[in-house]
């Protein structure tokens, strides 16, 4: 069983607090705002130069010059600001962004993240991923626990090209919430209807209780 993509996003939404500055990666993380209350008080940062990113515009209000990092049309909330890319990455690299939520291909038990390139696959590029993973104060990964073919994504060591080393704090998957502790992966909670044994089976490294 385990969580659906939307349920993973809902669980991740519970990590966000009013006043936080949060950057959401493309893909699954973009579902998170849909699971926040309307007056959530979170400041969403978009690395193309926007702090205070709001939801998609109402039909007819879309503006091609107001976009997120995935080049989707978005809105600016009251109090939002626009700026150039150097200042945007000053926010990211300078640890002014409280939380980044990114997808992953692999996470190692030391907190290494691989999420930008599959060996032999089409490389989409690096974009903001390495700066976000390296610079944000806290890094949350949202992903399925295993690949489509059942290979664990939580592993002892990544064999995919790394995005950054030793950066992941917490992983939220369809099966569990797992922290990266000093000594390795630590199980925080199982998803509803999932047993600890099932999580261990799907994890490619030791899982501390």
């Amino acid at each position: 069983m385990g969580r659906t993509r939307d349920e993973i996003a809902a669980r991740a939404a519970a990590e966000l607090e009013p006043g936080m500055v949060v950057n959401l990666g493309i893909g699954l993380p973009t579902l998170i705002p849909g699971h926040l209350p309307e007056a959530h008080g979170v400041w969403f940062h978009s690395e193309n130069g926007l702090l205070g990113m709001g939801p998609f515009p109402e039909e007819g209000d879309e503006d091609p010059q107001i976009i997120n990092a995935g080049k989707q049309t978005v809105t600016v909330v009251p109090g939002g600001s626009c700026f150039d890319s150097a200042l945007s990455f000053t926010m990211i690299r300078g640890s002014h962004v409280d939380l980044a939520v990114l997808g992953a291909m692999q996470v190692s038990e030391r907190g290494d993240l691989a999420n930008w390139s599959v060996p032999g696959g089409k490389t989409m590029g690096i974009g903001g991923s390495m700066d976000l993973a390296t610079g944000c104060r806290r890094l949350l990964v949202v992903t399925t626990h295993t690949t489509k073919t059942g290979e664990p994504k939580l592993v002892r060591a990544c064999d995919y090209p790394l995005t950054a080393r030793g950066v992941v704090h917490r992983i939220i998957t369809d099966l569990a919430v797992v922290d990266v502790a000093e000594s390795g992966f630590r199980l925080v909670e199982c998803a509803p209807g999932v047993t600890e044994a099932e999580v261990r089976d799907a994890t490619g490294a030791e899982l501390l209780a």
Partner: protein, 249 residues
């Protein structure tokens, strides 16, 4: 493209910066030139200058831009015209033209982290030859680069970037080249204008001196040498995402 220790490209003595057309603004473009082009994907592209380069006929160009076009538009028109030798960018994404040419080996690409890209350009305009960044340590980005430890953490040495031309687009400009940008169309443009020997602005609206309040200037005119007025832009949507209208809104 050249890496610089000191830029020193601009005299700041241009008496008249406003040109009659984008064609005039790039008339001295030469084969083999390096060109920084503002925009995040298709957002904030200097569409008039991009089109003018196609008409001009210069070839063997190096593009320094975040994405190098998408959906066959923007800088993808240069790729498809076969006038680009090299692309320096951060993200290829769904730019199928760039993927295809990269696989064919008909184009050279240099891909780097976006924050490093922005800072290399910023440094290029600021007289800083190189800088240390934590981004990319322990990854393929670090290959061949000096790593130095400061306060217990490793950093990579990255070099500044400069270019022959910078093409930027702003919402409003005045006759001195003071620019104000609009929303997320700003992105890399103000940085690029500082890091090129010939920075050219394409503006949606051109005002006389005094038409922009000094406190509303995002990029001071010292960084712009030519200005062309381009009133109409296509501004294509890359991904149009909307929600239903609420009752009464």
């Amino acid at each position: 493209m050249s890496e610089v220790t000191a830029l020193g490209p601009q005299t700041g003595r241009d008496t008249s910066k406003v040109v009659a057309s984008c064609a005039e603004a790039i008339s001295d473009l030469r084969d083999g030139a390096s060109i920084m082009v503002g925009g995040f994907g298709l957002c904030g592209n200097p569409e008039g200058l991009i089109a003018a380069v196609l008409d001009h006929g210069a070839r063997d160009l190096t593009i320094i831009s975040n994405n190098a076009g998408n959906l066959g538009k923007g800088l993808a028109t240069w790729l498809n015209a076969g006038i680009v030798r090299k692309v320096v960018c951060t993200y290829l994404g769904n730019n199928e033209d760039l993927h295809r040419m990269r696989e064919e080996g008909s184009i050279e690409t240099e891909v780097m982290p976006q924050g490093t890209f922005a800072e290399r350009i910023r440094a290029g305009g600021a007289g800083i030859p190189a800088f240390y960044t934590p981004t990319g340590v322990g990854t393929v980005v670090a290959e061949g680069k000096e790593v130095r430890r400061f306060d217990g953490r490793d950093y990579l040495l990255e070099r500044a970037l400069s270019a022959d031309f910078a093409f930027v687009r702003a919402a409003v400009g005045d006759e001195y080249g003071n620019l104000r940008f609009y929303r997320t169309a700003r992105n890399f443009s103000p940085l690029m204008a500082t890091a090129a020997r010939m920075p050219v602005a394409e503006v949606d609206e051109l005002r006389p001196l005094g038409g922009l309040d000094a406190d509303d200037v995002h990029l001071p005119g010292i960084f712009i040498r030519r200005i062309a007025l381009v009133r109409e832009h296509e501004d294509p949507f890359e991904y149009r995402t909307v929600r239903p209208r609420r009752e009464g809104s």
